[in-house]
Subunit: 428 residues, 2 copies
């Protein structure tokens, strides 16, 4: 079942994944039926979902979405899921807050409207719940009974939680020497949590081996053989942002880059809304954000390259620390095509940005959120972002998961329990 | 401004807090105008909000609520807030998931429908965001410029975040030797975080001193001089549960007890919905849940007492560790009046229940959630809870904040990065 390429070249399929019609190669356009495959049999390019949205009338679809549940399944007609998806047991992420960040806007000098899309509100407090929820539905349709992944943190928790809710077995692979907090968060859901004696690359390599082996039969690796479905979950960020803006495209978006998948799928989601007629067509710019200690896409962007040279990551923004991002070239293309850019900030700027966002908006972001806010600040200072335009910045995770990054933050005063001591400390 | 009792006895007031009409003493019924006061000038009983809901027609109100925002402000007509509350900067908590817990129901033998109201989805991941959001609106109306509280954790983070968003100064008092994680979470929002050399009782005593001193002028202590407003935030749990059940009362609710305020206000909220006609009147039972190491209300309930004898807390459920719960007698009254009960579980049962909920439903609860789930299990085993009735269990916080309680949870296996090692570990 878990094969890497598909034999058939027809679009005919017996699986019900809504308006998803086929898998299509991003490189050569070759189409294969929907299945648990991720690489093109012709050119080994990445497969992605091709849809048939031709039956949708924009006003009807808009009403149907607005009457839907307060989670990603309101967009079921635009996702590779069965029509009755909302009735099946899943973690039901999404419909997170789009916070109008007026205090932050004032500090940064943004006048056109600044918003933070805060995905720390998801069930396991990161955007990974969106992609895992999609992969889970695909796993169900394809008859997998075990949900798996390689991970260093957020993904492990999201897979463990979703599998538990949906009644799947889960088996998650992580480097054996991860921080205790991440291990607990991944283990609490009761699935198998296997430590691999090696680093994250070793974990990844082992998972690829397992997919090709009979032992991996019946296993859905959310970020490998279910990747085409998994990745579509990121489109829901685009849909929600536009709906929350009153069915309008923002002018500028600042999006973190790990593998680059999220950024490319947000662009795909925006393009779909335009094509279907749910939003008015107008230009928008997409900006990619990296940490300086893992900035292969930013470096390539600045050098004018089309290819991305891998880096060995060294940054506190560990959820973005992918040194060889699979979708890097597509990110470069989107940033250039839309008139955006790719920028990076150093770890000190990441920490400052986490504190800035918390102090101005009461949002405690993961290091990845520090990267996007920090890059937003830098791009404004450099005149690359236009402060007079509507700008949306993504926070994809929760500060509680990366406490170490801001461990220096603490008491502003220590006093004895009396008013005299209170006055002496200058607090009155 | 921050006086403890009010001089006037009329209901006339110039503040706009919606349908809130006056403050009324819970003990003697004495009414005073809305103001930053919390104790009755006649009998020193606790003051609570009295409303005028006479203008509401149920169908109109229901439609108005359903068309409202996806947060607690959809219930603005039933809360002590101005009509335009949703337009003001606040943390906007609520409308958290009511999870149909079919897996947990199966394990516990519940056939009548089991639901978990999961308040870990709030902005700072605990139900405290609900009460702080209310207190903030009262603080704004009464002209306070500093938001304050005494806290050992969840409340500190909620106050810090809400003050940041709303542009208030914040000054939060905690024991100086709290765990680093809680300190970081409280400090990150940039307000004053003052460590008191002493225990939580010393912190509380100092705060009471400060309220009576000119140095406390202009300070709104959310859980002291703003307590009548603050406490009303818990009513929104009752509203949401009923609306999410299709405007129906549940048959049984299991609610944690710290001060007891939350339980009493949920009962108040249910009663309001019945009186206004938003739900059909029928009996419901309220069950209180405590940890054995801090079980003053449970002990009093079982002994048939009307008064609660204080305890010195010693439990891992620190967010419930109030040894002298102010609303304990009211909780006893509600449990007995509705045909419910109060029960407690020990720390081992709390940890088991945290794991049970995670394993069955993918919800990682704080220790307080372990208490309610553990008590639910115990009450079912003892035949006190009826498994054939619709039951709602509250999870009021997030497991990420109490990682220490489940620190023993970890890897299920460690292997070398190859298939042979994988097979040897029996994972195939």
């Amino acid at each position: 079942m878990a094969v890497q390429t598909a034999a058939s070249t027809t679009d005919s399929t017996t699986v019900d994944l809504g308006s998803a019609a086929a898998l299509s190669c991003r490189e050569c356009g070759h189409r294969v039926p929907l299945g648990p495959v991720f690489a093109c049999e012709e050119c080994f390019g990445p497969l992605e979902i091709a849809y048939d949205f031709s039956a949708y009338e924009p006003e009807d679809l808009r009403k149907r979405i607005e009457a839907g549940p307060a989670n990603i399944w309101r967009y079921a007609p635009l996702l590779p899921v069965p029509a009755d998806v909302a009735d099946k047991p899943n973690i039901n992420p999404g419909w997170t807050k789009l916070v109008k960040a007026d205090n932050l806007a004032r500090e940064l000098g943004v006048t056109g409207g600044l918003y933070v899309k805060d995905d720390s509100g998801n069930p396991t407090h990161s955007f990974k719940d969106r992609v895992v929820a999609q992969a889970l539905e695909a796993a169900r349709v394809f008859g997998f009974t075990t949900l798996s992944c390689s991970s260093t943190g957020n993904l492990a928790g999201a897979v463990g939680a979703a599998a538990a809710r949906a009644g799947f077995r889960s088996c998650v692979f992580i480097p054996h020497d991860l921080e205790q907090g991440k291990v607990v968060m991944a283990a609490i859901y009761g699935g198998e949590l296997v430590g691999i004696e090696g680093n994250y690359d070793d974990v990844n390599r082992f998972c690829s081996e397992l997919i090709g082996d009979p032992a991996g039969e019946g296993w859905g690796f959310v970020n490998v053989n279910l990747r085409p479905y998994y990745a579509e979950g990121s489109k829901t960020l685009a849909y929600e942002i536009c709906e929350q803006l009153g069915w309008k495209l923002p002018d500028q978006l600042v999006i973190p880059i790990a593998s680059g998948s999220q950024l490319t799928k947000i662009d795909k989601g925006l393009q779909e809304l335009i094509k279907i007629g749910l939003v008015e067509d107008k230009p928008y710019k997409i900006f990619g954000a990296q940490a300086e200690g893992c900035s292969p896409v930013s470096v390539a962007y600045k050098a004018g390259h089309d290819v991305v040279r891998p880096q060995k990551p060294n940054t506190i923004a560990k959820s973005l620390a992918i040194g060889n991002p699979a979708d890097g070239p597509y990110v470069l293309d989107i940033a250039r095509r839309t008139g955006g850019a790719v920028e990076d900030v150093n770890d000190e700027q990441v920490v400052d940005a986490i504190k800035l966002l918390a102090r101005t908006e009461g949002i405690f972001a993961e290091t990845a959120g520090g990267v996007t806010v920090g890059v937003t600040k830098k791009l404004l200072e450099n005149g690359v972002l236009d402060p007079s335009l509507t700008t949306v910045v993504l926070n994809t995770g929760d500060g509680l998961k990366t406490l170490d990054a801001v461990a220096g933050t603490g008491l502003t005063a220590t006093i004895r329990p009396n008013l005299e001591s209170f006055r002496e400390a200058g607090l009155a």
